[in-house]
Symmetry: C2
Subunit: 255 residues, 2 copies
Amino acid sequence: MAVISIANQKGGVGKTTLTVNLAAALTQQNKKVLVVDTDPQGNATTSLIGLEDLETTLLEIVMDNIPPEEAVITIEKSFGNMYLLPAPPELALANIEIEGTGNLSYMKDILEQLKHQFDYILIDTPPSVSSLMLASLIASDGVIVPLQAEFLALEGLSQMWKLMETIRNGMNPFLELIGVVINMWDPRTILARQVLEEVKRVLGDKAFDIVIPRTVRVAEAPSHALTLLEYAPESKATQAFLELANEVDSRCKAM
Amino acid sequence: MAVISIANQKGGVGKTTLTVNLAAALTQQNKKVLVVDTDPQGNATTSLIGLEDLETTLLEIVMDNIPPEEAVITIEKSFGNMYLLPAPPELALANIEIEGTGNLSYMKDILEQLKHQFDYILIDTPPSVSSLMLASLIASDGVIVPLQAEFLALEGLSQMWKLMETIRNGMNPFLELIGVVINMWDPRTILARQVLEEVKRVLGDKAFDIVIPRTVRVAEAPSHALTLLEYAPESKATQAFLELANEVDSRCKAM
Ligand SMILES: Nc1ncnc2c1ncn2[C@@H]1O[C@H](COP(=O)(O)OP(=O)(O)OP(=O)(O)O)[C@@H](O)[C@H]1O
Ligand SMILES: Nc1ncnc2c1ncn2[C@@H]1O[C@H](COP(=O)(O)OP(=O)(O)OP(=O)(O)O)[C@@H](O)[C@H]1O
Ligand SMILES: [Mg+2]
Ligand SMILES: [Mg+2]
């Protein structure tokens, strides 16, 4: 069993895309996977179930002490059941209230009650360093960092590294970097190749060999509330997610 | 004189790119422009001056009451001087402390002391709803929202709208939406055309007619600490920023 945060404070690098499609790929490989959406944008929620009215979400669990099982939604897919703990937009302003309390272990407490039912828990985190992101890192065994092969995104990697150090030296000494995965890969640009070389030089085997190619199919799938496995099963990006799932599974077994 | 926040809680849509290059375009049209970087990632700071050690930044002004003029950096460009109030990475964890105080008018107080020296103040905001973003909106006359022509980015627009309503009904009744500008425009995808139609239908003339095309030149410029005007003066994206500056200037005169 592993709890994994998909995190990068840089925005728009593919955190939600990776969370949803890695969860689908792991499910296809007979793992029982819970997706926890901690981003008030609710993109993981929209990508999996569309725009539905939700009664119980992460907000009610944190603010009203509702048992977490009550909020978990089962989503029947052709390749198996996926499970989701959704996030509402109201979580944004509530997050500023939660930050006032200084309690950063609420996520760890919630996931303690759910862990035994799943092989993996994947947490989609919001961009920017915030208590929502810190609480997710504190609750996690490992982190996967999606990275765009661009200059500004590369800059952010050192900040992500320092943040993980702070968490490891404080609230969660066991937090490991499972790996960095390049997303929106476009081999035609020199910039992308320069960034990939730099990432491999700096990170060594912490950089996954698998890269997720840029393909418009990825950006279309959420508007149909479909994972890439269903929407474009033959796409190179789908193959990349399936290979990544294999690699993540073997790295977690070695953790 | 206008204070404008460049904001969208969705990550990676081009907030920093728009702030830096719109500031450059307005400077070329003989306006005196201050860029305020409120994102702890410091991408606007890196894009304008590279990775320098900074003594006084936004953090020292907010936490140590240093006069704001002391932190303003002058950057000599071929087309005129640009001005920057930089952000350090330490602002991220300090932000959680600032949120505890509940004081959201600190940015307004800082900019009151600088306003008289400039024609425009453009504020680059971080992704996610946070006190850094709220404080910037409270200090602003108007907001420009960059938008990627993709499904998940379109979802976020209604949340941005609700957030502006909350601010208008509370701390800043004068806050106006100057406009929404489509960035990373790629006419080849059907998805992009569908999103553009939807934006025009929902927003009417609040949607700028000018779109910023996707071009790798934009992503390369920050690694040289150059604005697009210097790095790729003939690029279609540069032309778009110059046209956008004209349009923003006439909309602000009518505000
Ligand atoms: N490999 C890819 N190819 C093409 N488009 C992609 C790819 N990965 C992600 N996208 C698209 O890029 C946009 C950003 O991705 P996504 O929303 O997953 O990033 P994020 O890091 O979760 O963003 P945020 O920081 O706002 O949470 C989305 O519109 C998504 O559909
Ligand atoms: N028109 C464009 N064409 C090509 N690349 C672009 C364009 N606009 C932005 N980019 C690139 O896309 C990435 C995201 O842009 P940027 O960092 O400006 O977004 P942001 O909204 O400020 O992100 P964040 O939410 O992390 O603050 C950057 O690498 C940038 O160089
Ligand atoms: Mg996301
Ligand atoms: Mg930015």
